[in-house]
Symmetry: C2
Subunit: 278 residues, 2 copies
Amino acid sequence: MKTISTAKSHDGVQGVYSHASEACAGDMTFAVFVPPQAKHGPCPVVWYLSGLTCTHQNVMDKGEYRRLAAELGLIIVCPDTSPRGENVPDEKDNWQFGCGAGFYLDATQEPFAKNYRMYSYIAEELPALIAREFPADMKRQAIFGHSMGGHGALTIALKHPDRFKSCSAFAPIVHPMVAGWSKPALEKYLGADETSWRAYDAVALIEGGKSFPEFLVDQGKADTFLDDGLRPWLLDDACKAAGIPLTLRMQEGYDHSYFFISTFMNDHLRWHAERLAK
Amino acid sequence: MKTISTAKSHDGVQGVYSHASEACAGDMTFAVFVPPQAKHGPCPVVWYLSGLTCTHQNVMDKGEYRRLAAELGLIIVCPDTSPRGENVPDEKDNWQFGCGAGFYLDATQEPFAKNYRMYSYIAEELPALIAREFPADMKRQAIFGHSMGGHGALTIALKHPDRFKSCSAFAPIVHPMVAGWSKPALEKYLGADETSWRAYDAVALIEGGKSFPEFLVDQGKADTFLDDGLRPWLLDDACKAAGIPLTLRMQEGYDHSYFFISTFMNDHLRWHAERLAK
């Protein structure tokens, strides 16, 4: 692991790091905030997965998580959203596919199967690195994210209910199999057989029997992607049918941006901290 | 005035606007956060002046001022740092001069005198626009800033002690006449006669008899610009000699970045809110 930068912030350390990733067959960059409490012992880990077009940097700059994370003693890990680099296949004019659009899945189709393995990266490789390199209490982990990253948080939590004590999302893509802006990506990464897509779709996972203790979702009502890409009511239906408690808060006037995310960041961090303390 | 964007944030509105500026002979962009309290009446105005290379956007993205401004009921105005545009003379390879480096002064030298009039812009033209277009209580104003913007805040406050109820700064350039990274700019904007520079230098203004009720300054001790560019002890000396109370906090381990600024943003907003309430 290579340290790209560190800066003191809110009495903790905001760092940016890179490492050679086996899962993604290339260098990956990520950000970690370590709170001041880590001087005295391992701290719980909260994973934040970002949305389409983002890197680790968007939430690091605009997410406004450090003040409360420093107060609550939370390590915040912010990975990149896809593999990147000269040898990574990409569609430069398509913001919904390729670089910046890894969809937290393991691609099976060529030429993407070699690098686009964000599911294995986030679920297996990066946690091992975090456990090794940071003062992290890996018995206490939580996960959340925004948009495509909300999709990532929901699906990864549903597959690892024993690992994560809590899961929440800002404006998640809850049913990417049917959403206009994600369906083409699933097809290119996973092939035409839609049954293979269900492993990376929160609604389909719940329909298929996966479960989680409870979810918190915030969704802006002025989000221009609400009706086509996001449709949180589909998650609400699936959770109701499966008996999973979902706190879905439709927020009047808020859009899809980090102005929305940062407004409700503290609510989510408190939600996680309460459950991590149990 | 043209609205470029607005987004709901912390129950207020973060907007970006542009207008044809007479002072700068061209279009200028700025950001304004209006807190929810403005629905019920005019709110006090806090001016944040940014540092070298910044636009209105850096602090809007990374300053983390909205949560507390929304709680305290403060309008936050974040102007650009210089004129910009095709017809504005610039030195593209020099980050300490030209675009992004207006130094909050009125240039007298050609070819800069036409556009580089940030003092008149911030002290006269933009306040008139804010008073006209926003629910602003112009009888209650405060000013602060970072680095070059800290210099701007200090000098403008010293010239307008009756307008501003409070002034603070993050890592300000307190004595630009003698600092390596600002002296060449003063010479190019104002000419070789150093007596003309004193009107835009906090230490020189205080030595010349200008005063202000009190200042708050935070300075990171790990700031790489501390010894050459910033030297807050020179302000401390000048304030002591003039009997101006200065709260100078040297912050262990903090650098010059927005990770530093956002850490102490709430302290500064509370400092201003207390004095604006008097």
